[in-house]
């Protein structure tokens, strides 16, 4: 079974007399180690899909299996535990807790997991080192640049060893140079650490870093294909494996 598997997902929002299907019979599966970009205009349903994938919201109907567990029927408290253990979030607005140091922000998911304090500090330090911020442990969010804040957020997303990272417009608030740094970091996380990454973006440049691009429109998936570059690389791999070169 795939790491993420959603089937016939419908999410309905009531709007006055009628109702509106934000997600209309969506099915999608993501294998372990994939790097997926979800694209679409605003109102296309990509954010709703992300919320459900992130276990922050529940579908109106349909099933969602995460790592083999049916999470579509779980209670909010059970979903909290799933989010804590299986998912790491990276948001557009960084979403660090203000007036709380970098290391304390990174520690937070482990607090809710029940990791003892000494171990928390050790692992938070290690995670900050991975994102290259070991010298900024005690800095407050407002003392850091956007790129640095987003790296703290990434450290927070990986510190609990969650297999999946969900990134919602992670470069939306960053300049081009920092965006490239952050995206290269995601690529490394995917390639070296084997994290499954699902990333929402509306920028084609950003989507180019991903291996697979899923496009949403009007609550439906309109295309699901491998990235052109990835396609080329794959064929190159194939050629390689056939020993032609």
């Amino acid at each position: 079974m795939s790491l993420i598997e959603i089937k016939n997902l419908i999410k309905t929002y009531p709007t006055g007399d009628t109702s509106f299907n934000a997600l209309d019979n969506v099915s999608l599966s993501v294998e372990e180690g994939e790097f997926v970009a979800i694209m679409g205009a605003s109102g296309s349903g990509k954010s709703t899909c992300m919320n459900i994938l992130g276990c922050l919201d529940k579908p109106t109907s349909g099933t969602y299996f995460l790592d083999g567990i049916d999470v579509s029927k779980m209670s909010m408290d059970e979903l909290s535990a799933i989010r804590n253990l299986k998912l790491g979030f990276v948001f557009q607005g960084f979403n660090l807790i203000s007036r709380t140091s970098a290391i304390e922000n990174v520690e937070m998911p482990m607090i809710y997991k029940g990791v003892p304090p000494e171990e928390r500090i050790k692992r938070a330090k290690a995670a900050l080192k991975i994102v290259g911020l070991e010298k900024r442990e005690t800095h407050m969010p407002n003392q850091m640049s956007g790129g640095q804040q987003q790296r703290v957020a990434i450290a927070r997303a990986i510190v609990n060893d969650a297999p999946i990272i969900l990134a919602d417009e992670p470069t939306g608030n960053l300049d081009t140079k920092t965006s490239i740094e952050v995206m290269e970091f995601f690529v490394k996380l995917n390639a070296v650490a084997g994290k499954t990454i699902i990333l929402v973006t509306h920028e084609p440049d950003i989507a180019e870093y991903c291996k697979r691009i899923v496009r949403f429109k009007d609550g439906k998936i309109i295309s699901d294909e491998l990235n052109a570059v990835q396609k080329g690389l794959d064929s190159l791999d194939k050629v390689n494996s056939e020993g032609i070169l």
Partner: protein, 409 residues
């Protein structure tokens, strides 16, 4: 569920981040708790003081005073017309079953002289029964005896104020003082009783045998007359019946017809003090209640600030929920924050309350007694207030939808 240590740390941090706000919020509780403690300490002190008054005055005590004179319609107040006699007091002891002991007393202000010192005070002519009824004890020497009464001896027992003023550090026993020019031998000293409830110095007194006073010192026009008679009833319950019995007896002895007014007054001091005690009790409860209202208002302050805090930190709540906090985790966090505010306020309030009570005791003439009960009660109450008023904001925080909370700016 996360461990308590971490919750505690998170809560403490958020309170620390908003230092000023936390201090001001706790201030409500601090004032409430300290007010309760101070009020109850003052109340307790007042009660204790009245108890001491009762003890120093003598228990189950009635005072029979001779009546008031009326000259051409001007009434002169009780004691101005000598109507009571030693015989009256003897009759009371004999005929009134509720009366345990009587002590007829005469008294006059006299000038006392010892060597080059002099002092003016009330000299009381008494019987031996006076001392136990009025709770006087002998510090040194001896008291007035029946023999002194029989022989009209010129002996005196001095109160401590008189001793200090006439003798300084010297031992007055067996020294001779002059009272109104007449030599008296000092045979004993009274143990100090301090001030009474009205602030009078009870130790400023001299006791001499009543017979000596009547026959030799006071040169009264009415031999055998006394100023007042202290009566001790058998117990608290018989105070009223003693009063009735004495009234009946005296009316009969003084030949007062049905239409005539009493020519004496009976005062029930014990009852007066009991009433005062009840009044001070009521006062303490009243003040305590007012103080608890301020504690309640402090609690509302906590609720107010916690509600603001929840709104302000909606995003933080969203983030915490997204990374794995359950509704319960959030609820506990905010409840602990409210509880910390109120308990910190409680601890500081206890300290302020104790200091405040001490200061009140030091700088006013009120007796203040700090006992454990009000401290425990008000501190416990501050905790209850924290939980009571912290629960709703915490509950509200835990109901937030993570998606909406994350979107909150």
């Amino acid at each position: 569920m996360i461990d308590f240590g971490s919750t505690f740390k998170i809560s403490l941090r958020s309170l620390y981040i908003n230092k000023m706000r936390s201090i001001l919020t706790s201030l409500g509780i601090i004032i409430g708790v300290s007010a309760v403690i101070i009020m109850l300490s003052i109340g307790e002190g007042a009660k204790e003081r009245i108890n001491k008054d009762i003890a120093s005055m003598g228990s189950n005590l009635l005072m029979v005073m001779s009546g008031s004179t009326t000259s051409s319609g001007v009434r002169m107040g009780s004691g101005t017309q000598p109507t009571l006699t030693i015989k009256d007091s003897e009759a009371m002891l004999k005929h009134c079953p509720s009366v345990l002991e009587v002590a007829p007393t005469v008294g006059q202000v006299q000038q006392l002289v010892y060597s080059n010192q002099n002092w003016s005070t009330t000299v009381n002519g008494i019987t031996p029964g006076y001392m136990p009824i009025r709770m006087w004890e002998i510090e040194s020497g001896r008291g007035i005896s029946e023999d002194d009464l029989k022989n009209n001896t010129k002996v005196a027992v001095l109160g401590s104020t008189v001793t200090t003023n006439l003798f300084g550090d010297m031992d007055p026993i067996n020294k001779t003082i002059r009272i109104g020019g007449m030599p008296f031998k000092v045979i004993g000293l009274l143990k100090s009783k301090g001030q009474n409830g009205m602030g009078q110095d009870q130790d400023d007194t001299v006791l001499i045998p009543i017979t000596t006073a009547q026959k030799k010192l006071f040169g009264t026009d009415f031999p055998g007359m006394v100023k007042h008679i202290s009566v001790q009833a058998r117990d608290e319950e018989s105070l009223e019946s003693a009063q009735e019995e004495i009234t009946e007896l005296l009316r009969e002895r003084h030949n007062l017809g049905k239409t005539k007014e009493d020519d004496f007054t009976i005062r029930n001091f014990t009852q007066m003090l009991e009433t005062a005690k009840q009044a001070s009790n009521t006062m303490a409860i009243l003040l305590g209640s007012i103080a608890s209202v301020s504690l309640l208002v402090g609690g509302i302050g906590i609720m107010n600030i916690m509600l603001v805090s929840v709104t302000e930190r909606t995003k933080e709540i969203g983030i915490r929920m997204a990374i794995g906090a359950t509704a319960m985790d959030i609820r506990v966090q905010f409840l602990v924050e409210a509880l910390l505010l109120s308990l910190a306020g409680g601890v500081i309030g206890v300290v302020v309350g104790i200091l405040g009570s001490k200061i009140v005791g030091l700088f006013s003439d009120m007796t203040v007694i700090i006992s454990a009960a009000p401290i425990l009660i008000s501190f416990g109450f501050s905790g209850i207030v924290g939980i009571l008023f912290g629960y709703y904001p915490a509950y509200k925080a835990s109901l937030l939808n993570p998606i909406e909370a994350l979107r909150y700016e």
